[in-house]
Symmetry: C2
Subunit: 146 residues, 2 copies
DNA sequence: CTAGGTGCAAAAGGTTTGCGGTTAA
DNA sequence: TTAACCGCAAACCTTTTGCACCTAG
């Protein structure tokens, strides 16, 4: 059991969830490659180290990890939900060329939304900014090909 | 044929799409009630005035309207795509209480994203801001109930 | 006349559910 | 010990597709 496991375990316990090897494994898969995988991608990666894990369990684990505040869901294109273990304030850049998803830093959330004049009365709980376009790699290739 | 039809027709023709009564009807349904309905909601509303219209046609029409620049897709929660005939620069407020979706004005897009320090090399094509929380009505009710 | 559009039914993803068996606490 | 969790398969819901018929231009 590593240092990460202690924090992981406590995080689950704090919200009344049990520790299971499946939850730990799914979380470790997310930490390994920070490419915002879909549930299906997570399933296939998780199977490598845990061949008996099922799709339903992956969904269950992801659900629990989200509720425990260890992972966030990223809803980029309606095709499939993506998952991200970066819990810092950030937004996502979705590359239309390679399909990659990149974390972009954001200033700490102070309840206001930069550039948005929200009328009186709204109570904001969460702001999600998603940016589409070409990532540096693809933008460079496009410029060369022109 | 009303004034709106002329612009509607031109807009379709400009992108090489034909005018059809189904497309016009689906668009009029979207203009009638600006509540960002799902494809299914649009289908049931459209059936009132056009009983033979099919779900597939609603999807086809919405697709065409999006491509013609008359309607935009709003991807709020992965459950179902929503549609919005407001083509001005704006973002969406999604109320967690009543499920309502409200348009919030935004300053004209100048290619930058307010509050976001985008690293060099990214080429931005579209920015989507979505805000969740409680709308004025629900926020007020919540305050009363406390 | 004919390319493009419609309606239907069937299929294709992605996600959820029901249930018998298993396990963390 | 037992409530929570897992694995499996089947169901579900939204969206897409294939195809015969229809119609705008």
């Amino acid at each position: 059991m590593s240092l990460m496991d202690i924090k992981f375990n406590e995080r689950l316990a704090a919200r009344g969830f049990r520790f299971t090897s499946q939850r730990e494994h799914v979380y470790s898969v997310l930490l390994q490659e920070r490419d915002h995988p879909t549930a299906e991608q997570i399933f296939f990666r998780a199977k490598k180290g845990m061949p008996d894990i099922s799709m339903a369990t992956v969904y269950n684990c992801l659900d629990t990890l989200v509720k425990a505040g260890l992972v966030r869901e990223v809803n980029l294109d309606r095709v499939a939900m993506r998952y991200c273990p970066n819990m810092h304030e950030h937004c996502h850049f979705h590359c239309d060329e390679c399909g990659g998803v990149f974390d972009i830093g954001l200033p700490p959330n102070d309840g206001t939304v930069p550039g948005v004049e929200l009328p009186k009365g709204y109570r904001v709980s969460r702001v999600e900014v998603s940016i589409r376009g070409a990532c540096p790699k693809c933008a460079k290739r496009q410029r060369r090909q022109q």
